[in-house]
């Protein structure tokens, strides 16, 4: 079965420190991968996506993610965290390929809650 795993439920970092949020996927074929951020009381905002090509992708707000096929991972990174980055982060995946009447179903991980200490 297709699944997305985010091993860390909560992460706390100091402002200015670097950040890495982990995401592992299990898909039969190469998936399309996404990172979303959800601030309190807000919907989900797309940070970045990976479809193919360069395995290091840049996103908004200074985030980047690296696709590693050998490790089935798509970890999110930021060199220097700002207090406003405190939020919940979701990794998601969908299967590359056939469009169906059911659309492209995103499978979400369980999320990682990021706390930033000042």
């Amino acid at each position: 079965a297709q699944s997305v795993t985010q091993p860390d439920i909560h992460i706390t970092v100091s402002e200015g420190a670097s950040l890495e949020l982990r995401c592992n996927y299990s898909y039969g074929a190469t998936p399309y991968l996404f990172w979303y951020v959800q601030s309190p009381g807000q919907g989900l905002q797309l940070l970045l996506k990976y479809f193919s090509g360069d395995t290091l992708v840049q996103g908004i707000k200074g985030f980047e993610a690296e696709f590693k096929r050998s490790q089935s991972s798509f970890n999110l990174r930021k060199p220097s965290v700002h207090w406003s980055d405190a939020a919940e982060y979701f990794c998601a995946a969908t299967r590359k390929g056939i469009l169906t009447g059911g659309g492209n179903k995103l499978t979400f991980g369980t999320g990682t809650q990021l706390k930033v200490e000042l």
Binding site: Y32, L44, Q45, G101, G102, G103, N104
Partner: protein
């Protein structure tokens, strides 16, 4: 991208009643999706709504409980029927734009059932 609004933003409903949630997009889109996010949980897809056809429901979700309308390319509604406390969740709509595979989300509707 797309700008998506949802109404209401939150509501408190009594057991046994229904709530209809509206989702409005600022551009025409083919695919609209409805998700549920239970407290402290991730997002679970309820159904996919294409304009002009019946919604496609995921396993565990049925039309009688979650009827969906999609009258045009910019609007959809989700009704949560016969409410129970277990329905207390955030309900989000999302759309897939011309950038296929990318989904953009509305701000969500927080439902509390008492």
């Amino acid at each position: 991208s797309a700008v998506i609004s949802q109404k209401p933003s939150r509501d408190i409903c009594q057991r046994g009643t229904s709530l209809t949630i509206q989702c409005q997009v600022d551009s025409q889109v083919t695919m609209m999706f409805w998700y549920r996010q239970q407290p402290g949980q991730s997002l679970t897809l309820i159904a996919t709504a294409n304009q002009g056809s019946e919604a496609t429901y995921e396993s565990g979700f049925v039309i009688d409980k979650f009827p969906i309308s999609r009258p045009n390319l910019t609007f959809s509604t989700l009704t949560v029927s016969n409410l129970s406390p277990e329905d207390s969740s955030i309900y989000l709509c999302s759309v897939e734009t011309s950038a296929v595979y990318e989904q953009y989300f509305g701000p969500g509707t927080r439902l509390t059932v008492t």
